[in-house]
């Protein structure tokens, strides 16, 4: 009994010892800042000679964000539309490409090499330069009739759609890691399931929907969340740029920037929550 206790305490000690750098870092750089930003968002923050000074101003920053600032809400809305349109497109395309690449074809490694390449070179500045110079545009949608109709109904939606078609390459660049994850998941599916289904006379279409899709669902969850996180990181996302500008802007200051980041984070968390809800297991378990 004593021995067992000793073993247990050693496990505790060693585990915490090895993980302590990460734990301290998480507390200092992630957990505390996370809550501190909430506090900051209710303050006016200014840098003085005596250091940072905070002045409680209640909901003023949020009123600014929602009512006074004319850019923030449209930016958030367009970010939401980007996510709603791009995340499913990216996941579906990645899934299709993974199924194609999972077959016995020649140059498989070569195709995989090409599809994974963007993961290596994709950076904010590279994407910005490529998009600025118009090198990502393969064609334009803006003159077509359908575009005009959508544009009349909702300009933001039309813009997001036309961006999707014009910069289809950029959207595809986000599929790099999801494709690899899907292939990995497809290879783990037991082959005998397909054989059994084939004997029972199932078509490959039926097998796709009855075997592959249900078994790959957990991976869809992970890749979707991954994609949502990734989509937030690059220039496609107008909110990041706006938050950064606000940080350096002395008039609005860090308080307003905190309110912006909190609203933004809240929106992202809602998307992550929705993803969990859609792809949850039937038992209600998450993992």
């Amino acid at each position: 009994m004593k021995r067992k206790n000793m073993h247990k305490s050693r496990q505790n000690l060693m585990g915490y010892l090895f993980m302590s750098p990460w734990m301290i870092g998480f507390l200092i750089f992630t957990a505390i800042p996370f809550f501190y930003t909430i506090y900051l968002s209710f303050n006016d923050v200014t840098l003085t000679v005596r250091g940072w000074e905070m002045q409680w101003n209640q909901y003023d920053n949020y009123i600014s964000a929602f009512l006074r600032n004319t850019e923030f809400i449209p930016n958030i809305i367009s970010f939401c539309i980007y996510i709603v349109i791009y995340a499913p497109v990216i996941i579906v395309i990645a899934f299709i490409l993974a199924i194609l690449l999972n077959q016995k074809i020649k140059f498989r490694a070569g195709f995989r090499l090409i599809y994974f390449l963007p993961v290596i070179i994709m950076s904010g500045s590279v994407m910005q330069q490529l998009m600025d110079s118009g090198n990502t545009e393969m064609g334009s949608l803006e003159t077509s009739v359908i575009f005009m109709i959508i544009y009349n109904a909702s300009p933001i939606l039309a813009k997001a759609l036309s961006f999707l078609f014009e910069n289809f390459s950029m959207v595809l660049w986000f599929t790099g890691i999801p494709i690899i994850l899907f292939i990995n998941g497809l290879q783990k599916i037991n082959k005998s399931l397909y054989e059994a289904a084939e004997i029972d006379g199932a078509t490959s279409w039926q097998m796709l929907w009855k075997i592959t899709v249900p078994l790959i669902k957990p991976i869809v969850l992970v890749t979707t969340i991954f994609t949502i996180v990734q989509l937030g990181l690059y220039n496609l996302n107008p909110v990041y740029q706006m938050i950064q500008d606000t940080i350096y802007n002395t008039a609005g200051g860090l308080g307003l920037a905190s309110a912006f980041s909190w609203i933004y984070t809240f929106v992202v968390m809602i998307f992550v929550g929705i993803t969990f809800y859609i792809f949850r297991n039937k038992d209600g378990q998450v993992e």
């Binding site: 090895f18 800042p33 993961v119 590279v126 990181l233 920037a257």
Partner: protein, 314 residues
């Protein structure tokens, strides 16, 4: 003759014909998708070699009329290549090394020890990946400026803010690195640890002599990924480094401004310096070239790294 025979045979055997057609369709699809993937890069390459005349000329689409290297000269000058390259290289390497070490320790703790609240820490690792950076970056800025003021240490504009973050496991995509290590360490049989422990090795000795030496593959994978991530990271870097260190990613992002500022000092610019797309594309190509070379040699490690990361949660 042979061809016709095989054709007839195929025609009769409709199943095989069907299979052949699907296969051709698959190839066409994969190749056209590859084209879309590579389109911006191909366009970038072709533009980087174009002369001013070719860019304006609407008839020149892909192939420049003559190979012009003057764009690279200009880009090289504006990016200040030898210096920017070296500073990016050491900046990235330092961050990647520290991130690799710390995530390895974290992965080891999670894979080998059964400590209290382990599940909770696991969740925290995932949380640290999912929460957007803006929510934590403002207090981080305040923290580092306070340290700078209090102890009169230069923090903003140096590598130290990001170094301290990756040394405490909060670098770019640290969570993925931890997961890669965790899954790799779990595959190493526990009996090896026990054997070393019986011989009197402490936990650190086990980690160093047994685990690290068996995990060169995982260490390489994480280091390579970390290198690429830190090289490409622009958001946190522009916040903390600003223009303190000449980094390629920042220099590329501010290429237009730098070009205008340097003006006639740039070789080949007489009179008023005018920027054009070819310069920018040459600069973009130069800044991604090191990564392309790394990818060419280590593509297997990159893809296997993601495959074995176990991000999919088994």
């Amino acid at each position: 003759m042979d061809f016709i025979k095989s054709f007839k045979h195929n025609f009769i055997d409709s199943h095989r014909l069907y299979k052949m057609i699907t296969r051709i369709c698959v190839y066409i699809l994969l190749i056209s998708v590859s084209y879309v993937f590579l389109y911006p890069l191909l366009k970038m390459l072709s533009m980087a070699f174009m002369s001013k005349k070719d860019i304006i000329d609407p008839e020149v689409m892909w192939v420049p009329t003559s190979l012009s290297f003057s764009n690279f000269k200009v880009a090289n000058f504006v990016l200040n290549i030898p210096k920017a390259f070296y500073s990016t290289l050491w900046f990235t390497t330092v961050l990647a090394l520290s991130q690799t070490i710390i995530t390895a320790l974290t992965g080891y703790a999670l894979a080998r020890f059964d400590f209290k609240f382990k599940k909770m820490w696991f969740v925290f690792i995932l949380v640290s990946f999912v929460i957007p950076i803006p929510i934590v970056i403002i207090p981080r800025i305040m923290m580092f400026t306070s340290v700078q003021e209090q102890f009169s240490l230069q923090m903003i504009g140096t590598v130290y803010p990001q170094l301290s973050m990756s040394f405490l496991g909060q670098g770019v995509n640290s969570a993925i690195a931890v997961l890669i290590f965790y899954n790799f360490f779990k595959m190493i049989p526990y009996s090896l640890d026990e054997a070393a422990q019986i011989d009197g090795a402490s936990a650190f000795q086990v980690f160093y002599h047994v685990i690290v030496k068996m995990s060169i593959t995982a260490i390489t994978i994480v280091f390579l990924f970390s290198f690429v991530w830190n090289w490409n990271e622009t958001y946190v870097t522009t916040t903390f480094v600003r223009s303190g260190i000449e980094l390629l990613s920042i220099k590329l992002a501010t290429f237009d401004g730098n070009f205008a500022r340097m003006g006639t000092a740039i070789p080949g610019q007489s009179g008023e310096a005018r920027i054009n797309e070819a310069y920018k594309m040459a600069a973009t190509f130069i800044s991604m070239l090191p990564l392309l070379i790394v990818y060419l040699f280590a593509q297997k490690q990159f893809i296997e790294g993601i495959e074995n990361a176990g991000i999919t949660g088994e």
